[in-house]
């Protein structure tokens, strides 16, 4: 197993690409920082220069002026071919070479880098396993013997072959059917959890951008950055009509998918320690006119039991002898969509939210509804 290199930061400074004979530059003075280990999605209409901007990074297109810093090093000072051998590149349909087997396709860059045979063979096997293709079956296959989704997986494996810190992906999932596309997107996210590469992903599909991007750069003509922010921010606060048009209908619904439970106003209930006196808790609930209390375990602050006012009437002794166990919790990292599903599925009126295993608050149908309302309100106000 080779050591996977995490991602590195990429800085584009005043990057401009001008083609001779064209009045407007294709890429006009772009400056942006792409954080190490993030997936940054360039999204924009065709002709916005998003692909051109991406290709400036690995110098498949040479910039007219400006700087590209990869991990602080000036990419323009290196030999272009050398540079590209350390930047993974995935294009639509994988761009696999039809005359080479799957293994040969994956081994291209390691061979150029003169790895020894054994290391290459091991790496090919490791990568195929990583992208979910059995090495015994697939190494000797040719691309035309694979489905579109499989070809795309091999394309990703090929880009990762020499373990580059940076991956450039040019509409990689554009040519596959929607179901396969969703699956490939999930796999990419899972892979990224493990590898933490810096990924620049180009697409014209805003939903794909929302799903994959840690950050989205919405680009207009000349690769002008209209908005560069996290998906939720763009959905909630589109910078202008151009971005709003790009988000399309159902912006608020998409928002459910990108808004984290931890980021909304949660309901709060009375929290008590397991050894608290039941009668005391009952009195307090009556005082606050509430029905439920959450029992947190000692030290960890993890929700363990529910108790309600009726159960505690005329009760005595530690509160942990009453009520029932908490069997559904939801992580603060979950999306509102997932919280909604958990509520509807579990039959419970309230679900405790935990962040790093500690109790944070409660989600009810009402909480979600209010969150949606306030997000809509926010979107409308803009």
């Amino acid at each position: 197993m080779s050591d996977d290199v995490g991602g590195v930061q990429i800085d584009l400074r005043n990057l401009t690409k001008r083609y001779p004979g064209q009045a407007k530059p294709a890429v006009d003075d772009v400056t942006m920082t792409i954080q190490a280990g993030e997936i940054v999605v360039f999204v924009g209409p065709s002709g916005s220069g998003k692909t051109t901007t991406m290709k400036l990074i690995n110098r498949l297109i040479e910039p007219t002026s400006g700087e590209i810093l990869i991990n602080g090093e000036d990419a323009r000072k290196k030999k272009a071919d050398e540079l590209r051998r350390h930047i993974g590149y995935v294009i639509q349909a994988g761009g696999l070479f039809p005359h080479m087997t799957v293994a040969d396709n994956i081994a291209i860059v390691p061979r150029i880098l003169k790895w020894d045979r054994k290391r290459i063979a091991e790496r090919v096997e490791e990568l195929l396993t990583m992208v979910g293709l059995e090495p015994e079956i697939y190494t000797t296959r040719y691309p035309r013997q694979l489905s579109g989704g499989q070809q795309q997986r091999v394309g990703v494996a090929r880009a990762l072959a020499a373990d580059p810190p940076v991956l450039l992906m040019d509409e990689p999932f554009g040519a596959v059917d929607p179901i396969t596309r969703a699956k490939l997107q999930d796999e990419l996210l899972a892979l990224q959890d493990e590898l933490s590469k810096t990924i620049v992903f180009v697409t014209h599909d805003f939903d794909e951008a929302v799903k994959l991007g840690d950050r989205i750069a919405v680009l207009a003509e000349g690769s002008r950055i209209v908005q560069y922010a996290e998906p939720a921010e763009i959905l909630a606060n589109p910078a202008d009509d151009f971005v709003r048009g790009f988000i399309g209908e159902n912006g608020a619904m998409k928002l459910l998918n990108v808004t984290r439970v931890a980021d909304i106003d949660l309901d709060q209930a009375l929290t008590v320690a397991p050894e608290a006196d039941a009668a005391e808790v009952h009195r307090e609930l009556a005082d606050r006119d509430e029905h439920w209390a959450v029992v947190l375990d000692r030290g960890a602050g993890r929700p363990v039991r529910w108790v309600n006012r009726e159960e505690l009437a005329d009760a005595s002794g530690p509160v942990e002898d009453f009520g029932g166990p908490v069997d559904v919790t939801i992580s603060g990292r979950s999306t509102l969509q997932e919280a909604l599903e958990a509520l509807l599925r579990s039959d419970a009126e309230l679900v405790p939210v935990v962040v790093k295993r500690r109790y944070r608050g409660l989600v009810t149908l009402n909480t979600v509804q209010q969150a949606i309302a306030s997000l809509r309100e926010k979107a409308k106000r803009r």
Binding site: N58, L60, D81, E82, L83, R84, R85, H86, I87, Y89, I91, Q92, A93, G95, L96, F97, P98, H99, M100, T101, I108, V109, I112, Y142, P143, R144, R158, L168
Partner: protein
């Protein structure tokens, strides 16, 4: 004398002429392939250059073979040299054209992917473009061989080697004995060679085309 008697009685000579014919065609086509490939590689990326190369080759190709051999005599005299030059020139067109068509027919996405992985121009050409264009290139070489095979018969007129000798000796003996036998032996020999070469190309095509490209 029956045709069969004629062939058996002159077996050694016929075999030698067949060998010479095959060898001349093979060498001329080989030479034309090297030249054609070089020209194609140098021009295919610039469309006017590619058109110039194909246009020039097609003008040469349009010149009838007899006239071409005729033009070689004042320059190179008689013998092997004018034959080889004329045949090679003649063989160029199908090869240049198919090389250019094949190379410029490679999916730009393939080249983009190859460049994006850090292959140099030469690597892209050797590992991606040429293998992908190979079936088309080979077809050009094959067509070129077939054409050259028949044209090479005229080489005998400029005292070149090959089975054309049989045909011209048949012509010289027009009305005399064995005229038909000689002409038949030459013509059939050349057709037989064409068949053999064609079969060889099919075999070469199978052996040298990636399994991934076969349909």
């Amino acid at each position: 004398m029956s045709f069969w008697d004629y062939v058996t009685s002159r077996w050694d000579l016929l075999l030698f002429e067949t060998y010479q014919h095959a060898s001349m065609v093979f060498q001329c086509v080989l030479l034309a392939t090297v030249i054609g490939l070089a020209v194609a590689v140098a021009t295919y990326r610039t469309s006017w250059l590619a058109n110039l190369a194909t246009g020039t080759a097609s003008v040469i190709f349009t010149i009838p073979s007899f006239a071409m051999f005729g033009l070689m005599i004042p320059v190179f005299g008689l013998g092997v040299v004018p034959s080889v030059v004329a045949l090679t020139l003649y063989a160029l067109l199908p090869i240049i054209r198919n090389c250019i068509v094949g190379l410029s027919g490679v999916d730009p996405a393939m080249v983009d992917a190859a460049r994006g992985m850090g292959m140099s121009r030469a690597m892209v050409l050797a590992r991606v473009e040429l293998p992908l264009a190979w079936p088309v290139i080979l077809t050009g070489v094959r067509v070129s061989t077939m054409l050259t095979m028949g044209v090479a018969a005229i080489a005998a007129y400029v005292s070149g080697p090959g089975l054309g000798d049989e045909i011209f000796s048949g012509l010289a003996r027009l009305g005399g004995a064995n005229a038909l036998n000689a002409a038949l032996a030459g013509t059939l020999g050349i057709i037989l060679l064409a068949l053999l070469f064609d079969a060889a190309y099919i075999l070469i095509g199978r052996l040298t085309t990636s399994r991934g490209l076969r349909v």
